[in-house]
Each structure stands twice: as C-alpha cells, then as structure tokens.
Symmetry: D4
Subunit: 128 residues, 8 copies
Amino acid sequence: MVDVAVIAGSASDGEIVSKATIVLDEESITYDFQVLSAHRDPEELATYVKNSEAKVFITIAGLSAALPGVVASLTEKPVIGVPVAAGTLGGLDALLAIAQMPRGVPVACVGIGNGANAAHLAVRILKM
Amino acid sequence: MVDVAVIAGSASDGEIVSKATIVLDEESITYDFQVLSAHRDPEELATYVKNSEAKVFITIAGLSAALPGVVASLTEKPVIGVPVAAGTLGGLDALLAIAQMPRGVPVACVGIGNGANAAHLAVRILKM
Amino acid sequence: MVDVAVIAGSASDGEIVSKATIVLDEESITYDFQVLSAHRDPEELATYVKNSEAKVFITIAGLSAALPGVVASLTEKPVIGVPVAAGTLGGLDALLAIAQMPRGVPVACVGIGNGANAAHLAVRILKM
Amino acid sequence: MVDVAVIAGSASDGEIVSKATIVLDEESITYDFQVLSAHRDPEELATYVKNSEAKVFITIAGLSAALPGVVASLTEKPVIGVPVAAGTLGGLDALLAIAQMPRGVPVACVGIGNGANAAHLAVRILKM
Amino acid sequence: MVDVAVIAGSASDGEIVSKATIVLDEESITYDFQVLSAHRDPEELATYVKNSEAKVFITIAGLSAALPGVVASLTEKPVIGVPVAAGTLGGLDALLAIAQMPRGVPVACVGIGNGANAAHLAVRILKM
Amino acid sequence: MVDVAVIAGSASDGEIVSKATIVLDEESITYDFQVLSAHRDPEELATYVKNSEAKVFITIAGLSAALPGVVASLTEKPVIGVPVAAGTLGGLDALLAIAQMPRGVPVACVGIGNGANAAHLAVRILKM
Amino acid sequence: MVDVAVIAGSASDGEIVSKATIVLDEESITYDFQVLSAHRDPEELATYVKNSEAKVFITIAGLSAALPGVVASLTEKPVIGVPVAAGTLGGLDALLAIAQMPRGVPVACVGIGNGANAAHLAVRILKM
Amino acid sequence: MVDVAVIAGSASDGEIVSKATIVLDEESITYDFQVLSAHRDPEELATYVKNSEAKVFITIAGLSAALPGVVASLTEKPVIGVPVAAGTLGGLDALLAIAQMPRGVPVACVGIGNGANAAHLAVRILKM
C-alpha cells in the first residue's frame, strides 16, 4: 500500500512526473506511478482508481487535460492536478481544464508544469 | 431508434440545447436528449453512450467541458462538441477543453454557444 | 474517386498534413491532396471543391485560417478544420477563426496542429 | 458610382455600420451598403465586389470574420476590415481573423467595433 | 476549535464566501471566517494563521490575489485558493496568481468563483 | 520625393522592415526609410512626418507600439501599422496597441510581423 | 503651482479620474486636471506637459493608451499610467500598451481602472 | 545607506536584475541587492524592508509574483515591480499579479523583463 498514486495522462509527461516524484522521495512518501489516459484507457483508469489504496492522487495532463477531473469523479479522496504545457499555448489550455471544474467535483490545481508543488501539497495533506 | 443523441453536461445549458434541437427539428432529424455530466454521472453516461443507437453525438458543456472527450472515448461514432460560455471567461475555457483533444480521440468542436452549427454539422454527416 | 480531400492553405503546412495522411494511410482511406489558399486561389479552390467526389474534406490552415469556412460554404459535405500554429500566437488565431463560424456553415474544428485527429474524425464519419 | 462600398457580414452588425456611414455622410463621401456573408453568399459577394466601381471597400464582420479577407482576394483595391464583438470573446476572434492575413492579401484592420475609424481611414485614402 | 479557516481578502468577496460556507454547513464542518487582506492586514493575517487551530485554510481573493500564497507561506497545512472575478478580466488575473505559485509553497487552486468546490475539496481532505 | 515613408520604432525591427522593402522594390515603389521612436525621438519624428512628401506611411513597432498612432496624429495621409513580436507575448501587445486606436485617428493594422502585407496594402492604395 | 498633473485621454474616463482625485483630496495633494489626447491634441499636450510645474503626472487612458508613454517622452518627471477598460477587451489592451514601454521611457503602470492606486503611488513619491 | 533596494524573488531572475543594476550604475545611483522570496522568506523580507534606508524599492518576480505587493504592504515608500517571464505564459501571469493590486497598496509596474525601465523610473523619482 502506498500513500500517493501518481497518474500521468501520457508517457510524454515524464519530466513533470519526475519533478513530483523527486519531492515525494525526499519526503519519504511512498507512491505508485501509472500512465493512464482518461480518453484512451477509461476502463483501466476506473479500475485502478477504485482499487487504489492511496490516500491522495496526483494527476498530470496536458491539452484538454480531462484526467484530473475524471479521477475526481471516480474517488472521494483528494485529487491534485498538474497542467502540462503540451501544445503551443503554453499550458493555458490544461490550466483552465483542470481549474474550471464543475461544482461538486473538486480538483486541487497547481501551477503549469509544477510537479514539485503537487507533491508538496500532497505532503501537507498527508501530514495533517 | 434516433439519428442523433444530444447530451448536455448541465441542466443550465438548455438555451444552447434549444439552438441545436430547433435545427434538428427543421431538418426532420430524430434525436434523444439527456442531461448527463461526465463528472457527476460517469456510469450513467457510459451506459447511455454504449447502448445508444444514435449515429452521431452532440455534446454540450461549459467550464472544463470534459463531456465531449469522454463521450468520444466511449464510442467510435462521430462526436460533436459545443463549448458553453458558463463562467466568467466567455467560454474560452470550454473551447480549449473541447478542441485540444489528444491524438486518437477526436471531437468535432464548433463555436462557443453555437448549438445550431452542431446540428448543421450532424445533418451534413447524416446526409452523406 | 477518393474518400477524403485534404486541402492545405499553404505549402508550409506540410508537417501537419503528414500527421493526417499517415493516419489515413494506416486506415486504408483513399485521399487526394491539394495546396489551395482561400485567399490566393479562390477560383481554383471553388472548382476543386465543387468537382470533388470526396465524401469528407480535411482543411488545414494557419493565421486567419479562412480555408475551412470557405470550403464549408462551397459544399454540403462535412468539413474538418485543423488550425496551424503558423505565426507568433501559438495558433490561437487559427483556432478561433476555424471554430467561431457563423450559424449555418459548420466546420468541425480539431486541436491546434492535430492533423491526426482530423483523420481519425474523418474515419469515424466514413465508417458510419 | 460611389466612392466606398460598405459590406457587413450580418444584418446584426448594423450598429457598427452606422458608425461608419455617419462619418462618410459627414465627409460627403458617397457609398453603397450591402449585407453579404462570405460564407452564406459567396457568389453574390464575388459578383458584387467584381462589379463594384467603388474605390475602397469597408468590410464589417464578427466571429471568424472571413469577409474582409475574402473581399481582399476578389479585388486589387484597398480593403478595410472592422472586427465586431459578436460573440462572448469581446471581438478578439474577429480582430485576429481580420489582422492575421497571409502574405499577399492585405487587409487594413481597425479597432474592434470602430466603424468610425474605418470611414476615417477611407477618407484619408480617397483624399490622397 | 474549528476544522476550516475561511479567509476572504475583501469584504466584497461575500458572495463567493457564501458558496463555500453553504457546503461546509451541509457537511457539518465547523469553520471560522475572517476578512483579512494580505496587503492591507499582513500582521493580523500572520497572527491569525499562526494561531489558528484549523486543519485546512480556504482563501478567497481577486485581482493580484496574493492571499492564498501568503497564507501558504505562513503555515504547513493545506491551503485552498479561490480566484474571484473582481475586476474587468473575468478573474483570469486571480486564477493565474493563485495557480502559478513558486516551487515549495503549494496552493490548491479551484475554479474562478467556485467557493463550493473549495469547500468540497476541504471535505475530501478532512475525511481522509 | 518618394511614394512611401517606412519608419521603424527600433533598429531591431530590421527583419520586418526588409519584408516590406522587398515588396516595395519588386513593385518599383520608391521609399525612404528611417528609424525614429515615438518615445525617444518625438521631435525628429514630428519634423520628419510633417516634412515628408510621401503619400503613404508604413510604421513598424513592437511592445506598446505607439509609433503608428503618433504618426497618424501628425499627418492626414494613410498610415499603415505593422506589429512586431518584440517581447515575450508574441506581439499581442503591439497588435492591440496598433489596432485599438481611438475614434478619429485611424491606423491600418496588418498582421504581426507582416511587413510584406504592409507594402502590399501601400501598393493597393497608391494604385488607386 | 500644483503637486500633481492629472491628464485623461478622453472625457469619458471621468469615473476613473474621480477615483484618483478623491484620494488626492483626502491626502491634501494639489492637482490640476486636463483632458488631452495624445492622438487628437498632441501639440496642446506637449505644451501643457513641458510648462507644467507638477512634480508627478497621473495619466489615464483606454484602448491603445498612448498617453502615458507620450507624456513620459515629454518630461523627465515620474509618470503614472492608469489603463481604462474602454472597449470590449476589459482593458487588457490598455494595460499592455501602458506597461510594455520601450527601454528608457518608463511608465509606472497601476491596475485597470485603479485611479485610486495611481493617487496613492503619487502620494508615496511626493512624501519621499 | 543606499538610494535603491533591489530585491529579486528568485536567484534565477539574475538576468533581469542586471538590466536594472547596469542603469543604476550608469546613473551613479547606489543600491543594495537581495534575493528574498515573499513566499519562502517572508520574515527576512519583512525585516529587510522595514530596516532598509533605501528611498525606492525595485522588486523583480515571476509567476504569481507576490513580491512587489508584499513589499508595498511593508513600506510607505515607492515600490516598482518588474514582471519576469519565468514560466510558459510569457510573463502574462506576473504582469497581471504585479499590476492588478488592490486599492491602497500601489505598485508601479513596468514591462515584462524590463529591469532597465525599473531603474529609469527609480532615477526619475530620486531626481525629483
């Protein structure tokens, strides 16, 4: 059993994933890492999230960035979203997609590409 | 059995839904209408989409607007997305969320609030 | 006779064209490819579109990106538009120009530079 | 024969048209006024532009605003474009569509909704 | 002792505050509410945050929206930030100010004006 | 005496200047070229504009890009403005500064970095 | 002789002017007020600025907002600029025009419509 | 005792700092330079600002850029803010954070990355 589940929407998000896992390692937080797309792997994603014993989810996605919101709809645990600057708009698309969630399905959005802060936020939540 | 399935993410999207259904009615296209949120009703949405015999989906959503992409991941049929200006950003958030889909899961995005064009596009596809 | 007509507004859009044609080739969809500008070649464009036997049009354009809309005004068939990040604004200009069509002349807009999704959308339409 | 041809893309652009024609009247510039959409009336538009004896074109359009560019591709005379704030983005869409023309097909873009300046610019050109 | 400290940067943020406290009341979460500006009341704010026994902070601010980040620098507990559309930019200013925090000082940003989701996120964290 | 006066706000705008002068040379239009800043050389600029016998002004500027508007306030002749992508915002700053002129002082704005279209527009005006 | 010269680019900026003068009155700072457009009244503006004995200039302008920069080029005294939300873009145009000045001609930009802060900044400078 | 206190929010802002200090050196203005983050070093920052005998503060920060506003809340002296293009949005985030200060706590914002103009503005203030 791990404390945090880290999910990236694409294998190309690796650099941002590392920024998160370096901090988790430093803080001795255990985690599991998966690449699962909300759009391409919806069933595997649902199975993974529902069976995970992690206490907090860190989700990392670019472009239309549905992953954080979909994870938040599959669990009642806290979900952190990291927008990735994956296209030509500097990540503004992913930032808006992750922050502008409808009422009742909250995602904790951090800064564009800021995997480190996603981990620091998870640490704050876990240390409560 | 209907030709088009119209799905709105929120009951508050009714004005944009009407713009689409008026055109469908004029063109004598049969349709079914549902309010199903990608975030709040993921299982009902999946059941509905997988069981639908519609040939084309029209999806209408504001803010982070995950609905069109999620529907596109649940079906191999054409999915049209209509961004709604639901918050304070004039619908730019929804436009980016619907247009900027990852490779392999296409959504046909039309203009902000342009339910009419979603219907006109469905008509073009159905008349092929 | 081909299934898809691929039209780029400029010879410099070649990289995005390739993203579309690779998918069409993989899916064994036949296509014709032309470089025709809505602004510089309006008559050749009109002749080509009106005489084409393709069932779906994929149009690729940057900057003010009038091509998709002009093609949609010349045919009753489905028209897909791909915004290209051709200038210094990351393609936001082309995205808005392609998505924000007036009522009655629909274009199916996909993501900036996402030629692959234009092709995937064409496949969905053709397989109906 | 008139000095200026004023073309609006939609009947709903009337307020901006008036801002232009008031100035033209004050300056005793003769003009003809038409509502012709680049997308809905392409053939009437082409016929009108090619037969017009006006020396300068003022074109007024919102949303994807293809009208100014299409007129500029149909004539070698100066074409002025006025972006209209027709949707929910404050006219940023129309501004970019009118300003960001490809090389070789120039449009003289003025400010959003600034029909008066379109007329003042026409006056400067005509008084040369 | 309360579970949540709700801090608004300005008395004019009351409508957004209510969206949060309605949810907290529904969920029987206890909270304390203060109006404290990061810029106008920095010392009272520091005293309040450091002495608070709340487990989670909900911070609500518009414009340059320094409040969430300043609170996050004063405590090691989780801090949620709600951007308010206080000026003429629809809250884009506050959204960027709250989301784009430097590494090491995380804020959990929710949507513009979405006080309800701030409370729902706090509930998820508290229920862990 | 020359047909066109080309004024750049900064020596660093040379690449965009060349795009204009190449077209003017091709079209055998005579021109004079100056680097004069609206902010750093206001008096030389006023003297130059008022004494110039050119029929059309092409003005090229980045950032807050006051040059085109200031020239338009110094002459009754047509003034064309070219926004330069000089900073980190892709030229959006200069585009807005040049397009959004107040009523009565018109500038003909072309696309970001599009010196060629400034020259093509000047040619259209001169050939009237 | 007054401490501050307040210049608005347009009579329609009166509401923002009042926000500044209320603060100046409260702080017993003497001021002179003029409506002078950088574009429509360049010579009166130059005469006024060069003859003014004010120690600080507060300049208020919307749209392309050249006024603050032009004043800064006419004097070596501190110039404060207030962007006005005069058009349909919420004042983003004026904010960029006032902030993005070229090197050597500084303007002290405050928030959109924030006449009060312009006055508060003037007070800080005068109290040095 | 120095005339100007230059504070950067991060050691990575060095290039922009140099643009300011080169001008201060040229103008023979004495200054002190510190790297102090509003978020990571709030107490050192408060101590430094309150004990500083500088007459003007130049503050340099990227992303959510709280530094200028926090300094302005700690002193009654003039505070100049320089937005840094530190992330993927070209500095638009920092520009808005620095310019859009609440009433009563003014910051004099200059252009993105324009350390030189911050220094020039300080010179104007000091020479009064």
